[in-house]
C-alpha cells in the first residue's frame, strides 16, 4: 500500500521541514467546495488547482487556477491528492476521472453515494494502487501541517495520537477533549459513515501503525457492519502493544433503523454495539461510555504523560 505520510507531507528537506504537497479540489466553485477550499487554504494546505468542467481558465480567490478536467490539473501541478465535493450522483464519474488522471489519494466528501458506485470506485482504486478516504468522510489531516477535509481547525492540535473515526462530529468532539487533556494528534482519519468505506478501520490502522512517533490510537466506531470487530481481531493477532482506546456510538439505538449514517444500522446481531464492545474488550481496548471518557481512559493507559 502507498505510504499515507509520504503522500500527505513528502519527505523532509535539508532544514528538516516537510513539503507542502499540492492538492486538487474537484467541485471548487460549488457552495460547499468553495467554502472548504478557502478554509483549507487558511489552514495552510497547498490548494494548487480546482476542477470545474466549463470553468477552466478562471481563478479561484484570484490565485488558484481552475481547470476543466482533473487530467489538466494534474498535468499542471503534479498533484497526487484530490478532494471531491461533487453531488453524490456525480461521484462515480468524478472519482473515475481522478483515478485515471493518476491521483493516489482521493478524499471523498459527498454523502449519499450509492454503495454500488463506491464499490466500482474501490475496484478501480485497487487496480491503480490508490487510497480512497470516504465517501461521507470529514477527511484526513495532520494537525499543524495539512488539512484535507471539512473539519474545523479548532479541535485539533499537533501531537502523537492517531484518531480513526466513522463519525465527523464525534471526531471533532473527541479530538477536542484529547487536545485539552494534552494529547495532540499525529493524524486523524475520517473513515466515513457509509456501509462500504474506501479506507476501513483496519486499513487506516495499517497506514498509521508503523509511525515511529505514534504514542497511542483512538478508534471512534459506531453501530453497523463489523469493521470494529475485524480491527480488534487484527490487533490481537498482530500483538500490537501501543495504547488504544475506543468509543462506540449507538449502544441504545433501535435495531433495523438507519441512524443518520447510511452505514449505522444493526441487522439482527450484525453491526450491534454489544458485539463491537465485546471484541474491543477481548483485545484489551477499553471502550468509553461517553465521549469524554476516551481521553481519561487514554491517560490511564499511557500512564504519566511526558
Amino acid at each position: 500500500m502507498a505510504d499515507i505520510y509520504e503522500i500527505l507531507r513528502g519527505t523532509k528537506d535539508s532544514s528538516g521541514n516537510y513539503q507542502k504537497m499540492p492538492v486538487i479540489v474537484q467541485g471548487i466553485t460549488g457552495t460547499f467546495g468553495s467554502l472548504h477550499a478557502k478554509m483549507m487554504m487558511e489552514y495552510g494546505t497547498n490548494i494548487a488547482a480546482g476542477v470545474t468542467p466549463g470553468k477552466g481558465g478562471q481563478k479561484f480567490e484570484d490565485c488558484v487556477p481552475i481547470y476543466n478536467s482533473v487530467k489538466e490539473a494534474v498535468d499542471a501541478t503534479g498533484a497526487k491528492i484530490s478532494i471531491v465535493f461533487v453531488p453524490a450522483k456525480f461521484f462515480l464519474g468524478a472519482a473515475k476521472e481522478a483515478l485515471d488522471a493518476g491521483i493516489k489519494l482521493l478524499v471523498a466528501i459527498p454523502e449519499h453515494v450509492p454503495i454500488r458506485d463506491t464499490m466500482q470506485v474501490l475496484e478501480m482504486a485497487k487496480q491503480k494502487d490508490a487510497i480512497v478516504i470516504g465517501p461521507n468522510t470529514p477527511g484526513i489531516m495532520i494537525p499543524g501541517l495539512i488539512k484535507i477535509g471539512i473539519m474545523p481547525a479548532s479541535p485539533f492540535k499537533p501531537g502523537n495520537i492517531a484518531v480513526l473515526s466513522k463519525s465527523g462530529t464525534l471526531l471533532y468532539e473527541i479530538s477536542n477533549a484529547l487536545s485539552r487533556a494534552g494529547y495532540g494528534q499525529s493524524i486523524t482519519v475520517g473513515i466515513g459513515g457509509d456501509p462500504v468505506n474506501g479506507t476501513r478501520l483496519i486499513d487506516a490502522f495499517e497506514m498509521i501503525k508503523d509511525d515511529p512517533d505514534l504514542k497511542g490510537i483512538v478508534v471512534v466506531g459506531e453501530i453497523g457492519g463489523d469493521s470494529e470487530e475485524i480491527l480488534a481481531q487484527h490487533i490481537i493477532d498482530t500483538n500490537f502493544k501501543k495504547p488504544i482506546v475506543a468509543y462506540i456510538a449507538g449502544r441504545n439505538a433501535p435495531k433495523e433503523k438507519r441512524m443518520g449514517h447510511a452505514g449505522a444500522i444493526v441487522m439482527g446481531t450484525y453491526g450491534s454495539a454489544e458485539s463491537k464492545v465485546a471484541m474491543f474488550n477481548k483485545a484489551n481496548i477499553p471502550v468509553g461510555k461517553r465521549p469524554n471518557e476516551v481521553a481519561m481512559f487514554l491517560s490511564g493507559k499511557m500512564g504519566s504523560k511526558d
Binding site: M39, A88, V113, P114, I115, R116, M119, Q120, L122, P138, I150, M151, P152, S154, P155, S165, K166, S167, G168, T169, L170, L171, Y172, E173, N176, G193, P195, V196, R200, I202, V220, E222, I223, G224, G225, D226, S227, I230, Y247, A249, G250, R251, N252, A253, P254, E256, R258, M259, G260, H261, A262, G263, A264, M267, G268, T269, K289, R290, P291, N292
Partner: protein, 370 residues
Amino acid sequence: MRLLEFQAKELFGQYGIKTPKGKYSKNIDEARSHAAELGYPFVIKFQAPVGGRGKAGGIQVVKNQDEFELKYPQVAGMTIKGEKARAILLEKMAEYQKELYLSLFLNRSKRCYTIIASGEGGVEIESVKNQTIREVGLGDVTPQVAEEVAKSIGLSGNSVSDFVDMLQRLSKLTIEKEAELAEINPVALLKDGSLLALDGKVITDDNSNFRHPDMDKYQEKTELEERAEKSGFTLVELEGNIAVVGNGAGLVMSTLDMLIDNGGKAACFLDVGGGATTESVYEALTLISKMKKVKAILVNLYGGIVKTTTVASAFIKAYDDKLIDLPVYARLMGAESEKSKEMLKNTKTKMFDSVEEAISGVVLGVSKHG
C-alpha cells in the same frame, strides 16, 4: 429501504421467484373478499419490519370463516417489538418436506456480496446451522457457483436446477434493485422437489433510490420522517418523551446513548446534518413541535464552524413565533457560547457547558413535571 414481506414477494414475482398465492389487505373488509378468493385454509401474516413474528403470534392458521373473523382483528391489532401492522397478508399454505435458507448479502468489510445458504432454514440467520458461504463480487452468480451451493446444502435431482434458477433470479434482483440484503427464509422444498419462497426480506440501498422511481411505492415513511428528509435531516421516531437533536449521526447517537443510560426516554433521534444554521435548527424545532408526546428537548450541537449565537437565535425565534413552549436543555459547543447564554437567559432554554449536565437537567426536569 426495508421492504415488508408482501412487498418483497411482489418483487420476487416480478423476477419469477415462486411464492405462495397471497393477497394483502389494510382492513378486514378488503380481506373478506380475498379470503373468499383464496379459499380456506390459509395463514394470516402480520406485516411490519420486524423479525420473530411467528413466535409473537403474528402468523396464524385460519381454517374457516369463524376463525378468520376472530383472528384477523387480533393479528391486525398486535404490536410486535414496538411495531404496529402496516398490512395483513393472507396466504395459501404449502405442504413441504423441508425448510431451507437462502440469501444474498452485502458483506461491508469484504466489499462484496455473499451467498449464504443452508439446508436448515426457518430460523433467524444467527441460528441457521451448516451455512454455505460464497463470495460473489458485485453480486453476479454463475450457474456453476449456484449448482455448487445447491449441492453443498444437500439438494439433489430436480431441486438442484430449481435452486440454481431461484438463486440466479435473486442475484438479478439484488443487482438491479441495488439490495444490501435479499433473503428467502424459509425456502420450502416441496414434496415434488420444487422450491417456493415462503418468506421474503429485502433491504435496498437508500442512497440509490433516485435510480429506482418504481420502488417509491414501497417507502414506509411517516409524514414527519418525509419532511425531515426533505430538509436533509434524519428523523427516527421513538417511544419516549425527550426529543434528541444534534448535528452529525455519531454525535446524536452518542447523545441518545447517554440519555438512555441516565434513565431518560427518547422521543426521537433527529440529526440535522454536519452543519447547523438558524434555519435548520428552526426547522428541527418545527418538526418536534408536531410530536405531541414530546415534553422536553435535548440539544447537543458541536458547532466547529458555526457560531452558537446563530443557534441561539433559532430558539428565540421559535419561542417568539409561539412554535414551541417546551423547555430546551442545550449544550452548544462552539464560538460565542457566553453571548448565547446571555441571549437565552429569559427563555425556557437552559444552556449547559457539557452534554452530561444537559442530560442530568433534562432527565430531572421531565421527571418533575411528568
